[in-house]
Symmetry: C2
Subunit: 144 residues, 2 copies
DNA sequence: CACAATTCAGTTGTGCACAACTTACCAACC
DNA sequence: GGTTGGTAAGTTGTGCACAACTGAATTGTG
């Protein structure tokens, strides 16, 4: 056998595992809201500021229309969101929150704290992890 | 608007973004080998030690048979892997590397280094990130 | 030995990701 | 005013993840 890379030494695998473990902790809580994790992310963006175009959402989340279009249709079917063609620019679709979508935000308040509790890391460590991951993501995007 | 969680403060989103950014950096290199990222992970495990049962692979990678069964069929279609029913226990399927599968490992040697170069973090920081993520993943798994 | 409980791999169905493509629309230039 | 280039959203197709289930094989227990 050659000096093939070892699984347990790979940062990439550590990221992949941690990310799946974190969404697995979120899943049962989000199930209570009727949302998947990516749907929750879209709602987070809209709770901050709405309406938003599909492209804007994609830039915030790093997702393209191939992912967002069907996801937004599902949110619309749940009556959390409304899609309206813009009058000024018929290419654009503005995503508005419905009353139900707006109301859902209060039920989502405690979710991130629950992850922090389950993480087994101090607040300082969590904060440092977050900023390190931010730098890493930016550098990886710049690298091509 | 209530005090809804902010997207940019969430460790979970930072993990999700970093993980996707890292696999995006791997993707063009793995394309050269004809592999997807999860397929590459399976090959990594097999390069370390083979044959392995489907369940063993699942435990190393945190994936279930619903993910692995079709993935392994695709690796078999690529002639990198062979699936053999165990004689002793007819429930088990042993995954063996083919000659081509074994040969592929030498072409995969440089891949993790490329990620390290693109990461924009020092070796120390990368190492610390890896161990922090390992602790986080373990704690999240323990939390339920 | 009989048979209930467990284990293993596989299947089915849903929902992302992402590449490649399509369609509709807009804007700039001739 | 028509053409050309670019942009926004949507569609199609592939491959994960993961829950729920199936069927076959094995193990544990009375």
């Amino acid at each position: 056998m050659t000096d093939a890379p070892r699984l347990d030494r790979q940062v990439c695998f550590a990221l992949y595992s941690a990310s799946r473990a974190a969404t697995a902790v979120y899943r049962p809580m989000l199930e209570g809201l009727g949302l998947t994790y990516p749907q929750y992310l879209v709602m987070l963006v809209l709770w901050e500021n709405e309406p938003r175009g599909v492209k804007e959402l994609g830039e915030e989340l790093g997702l393209d229309s191939g992912t967002l279009s069907p996801l937004l249709k599902r949110l619309e079917a749940l009556d959390l969101v409304e899609r309206r063609r813009s009058g000024e620019d018929e290419r654009r679709v503005a995503i508005h929150l419905t009353a139900a979508g707006r109301a859902l935000s209060s039920r989502a308040t405690g979710i991130p704290q629950h992850l922090a509790d389950a993480a087994g890391l101090s607040p300082d460590e969590l904060e440092q992890l977050r900023t390190t991951l931010g730098r890493l993501t930016a550098a990886l995007h710049d690298s091509h």
